[in-house]
Amino acid sequence: MKFTPHVLGIFTDIYGSFDAMDLPKALLVAIVGFMTVLLVLAMIALFIRLIAFIFSLIEKKATVEIIPVGDSDKKETAPQKVGVSLPDNESQGELELIGVDEATAAMLMALVSYKTEIPLNRLAFRSIRLVEDE
């Protein structure tokens, strides 16, 4: 079975000549050509959207089974509801800061999250320590 439509050879088939075109023919070529490019790119854009949608579905399913990162003691006393996770840009738990202010620590955590492409709610930081140059 041939999937590729032969219709794309329409111009040479119809006019059967490679001579210069008159205005109506030229316009037909331009319109069909331009619309085809637009259509193909729209198809690709739809594909990207579709993939993104599928991934978001898979991620949603996965978060149902993941308990958010947090204090292990708290988890025992007050377990989180299954299926409810923190937003991607939020985190919880305790973090020891040694010689680092909160703003810098927040920036570092955001950077690590961005570079590793792991949402903050899936990362656990134990401590951030300032290392002095020798």
């Binding site: 590729t4 794309l8 319109i31 990207i48």
Partner: protein, 367 residues
């Protein structure tokens, strides 16, 4: 002595004119830094090929036959596409796929110029080859014009690469003409969308190749090599190949490509009224590409709640990454806090795909 003098006496005026043209190309490449990697070899090649009894003619002809005009296809442009594919990061596009449409819109100049060239009396294949200047993509222009057997490849290449280099001069006045100050001041959301997963980045080149291949089979070589390069980049296990494709391979092919194109810059073929017409038509192609990209954004703004800065539509003309930079710079000139680079790069890479599709489509139509 007689032999030496013979060379001086056989120099013709058209040959001298070609030396001057070659000199101008070299000047533009060095002094103005306009596409130096191609204009310089082309300029020097134009001088080489137009010396009387030039000993370089034969070897450049051989290079042309092996690298560009062989029975199996256009080897050099296609190999160059692997390098270009490896250079392109499609992330901005994958984050905001709507930008794809601007890439398509900005191919309007190709089809408009095709019509115009045909109406001016060029046969369909030459007209299509001239129209493809509007792809603002050298390898596509070479591949299409060679495949269609155009006799104007030298002029088409000079026009294509010159206008690509002239994007910072050609586009801003057109953009300003098509937009109001208020439109140019539109700020767009710069918060990064959700980054595409690695699997999406790997699937993207494969699926694009399949979709394009099904619609325009003749585009498979062009899009396939471009996407193959991108797959090497994104797969994550071929980093050294990706690096090689981006740098060594692309540079190597570029060196040969420029000087090989000069085979079609012989005075007797190049110095014609048609060449001037082609150069003028190439300018039309760039102008109407820019116009259509901007207009699509304006039309979308009528229906969309989130307004788009219409200037980003102009970046769909593929001249990567120059066009995106031009738009970004124009945005900053209007409002020094308006950062359009992320959006314009997304549109620009979609233009790269669109131009290859348009090239393949033209081949499918007219081969």
């Amino acid at each position: 002595m007689g032999v030496l003098l013979e060379n001086f006496t056989t120099v013709t005026f058209p040959q001298v004119a070609m030396w001057i043209i070659g000199g101008i190309l070299i000047f533009l490449a060095i002094k103005k830094e306009m596409e130096p990697s191609l204009l310089l070899p082309m300029g020097f090649g134009a001088i080489l090929i137009n010396l009387p009894n030039s000993g370089a003619k034969h070897i450049i002809d051989v290079m042309f036959r092996v690298g560009i005009d062989n029975e199996f296809g256009e080897l050099m442009p296609l190999i160059l596409f692997i390098g270009i594919g490896a250079m392109i990061d499609f992330t901005p596009l994958l984050t905001n796929p709507k930008l794809m449409l601007f890439g398509a819109a900005a191919q309007f100049g190709i089809f408009f110029t095709l019509c115009l060239a045909s109406l001016l009396g060029f046969d369909i294949r030459d007209a299509a080859s001239i129209g493809i200047i509007g792809a603002a993509d050298g390898p596509t222009a070479i591949a299409v014009s060679m495949e269609l057997g155009s006799k104007y490849i030298g002029a088409i290449m000079v026009a294509a690469y010159s206008y690509m280099a002239l994007v910072p001069l050609v586009q801003p006045p057109i953009i300003k003409l098509c937009t109001t100050k208020k439109e140019r001041l539109i700020r767009m959301d710069n918060t990064a969308g959700k980054a595409p997963s690695k699997l999406t980045k790997i699937l993207f080149p494969i699926v694009v190749t399949i979709i394009v291949g099904l619609v325009a089979p003749d585009a498979v070589a062009l899009i396939g090599f471009l996407m193959f390069g991108n797959l090497i980049r994104e797969c994550g296990v071929l980093n050294s190949l990706s690096e090689t494709a981006q740098k060594v391979l692309a540079n190597l092919v570029t060196i040969f490509l420029g000087i090989t194109i000069a085979a079609r810059m012989r005075a007797e073929e190049f110095l014609t009224v048609d060449t001037l017409l082609i150069i003028a038509l190439g300018l039309f192609a760039f102008i109407f590409d820019t116009f259509a990209g901007v207009m699509l954004a304006k039309i979308m703004n009528i229906f969309s709640k989130k307004k788009i800065n219409p200037m980003i539509g102009a970046a769909g003309i593929s001249a990567f990454p120059m066009s995106a930079r031009v738009v970004h710079k124009m945005g900053l000139e209007e409002d020094n806090q308006n950062f359009l680079l992320m959006h314009s790069i997304g549109v620009n890479v979609s233009g790269q795909i669109a131009s290859v599709i348009a090239g393949g489509l033209i081949l499918t139509f007219f081969r």
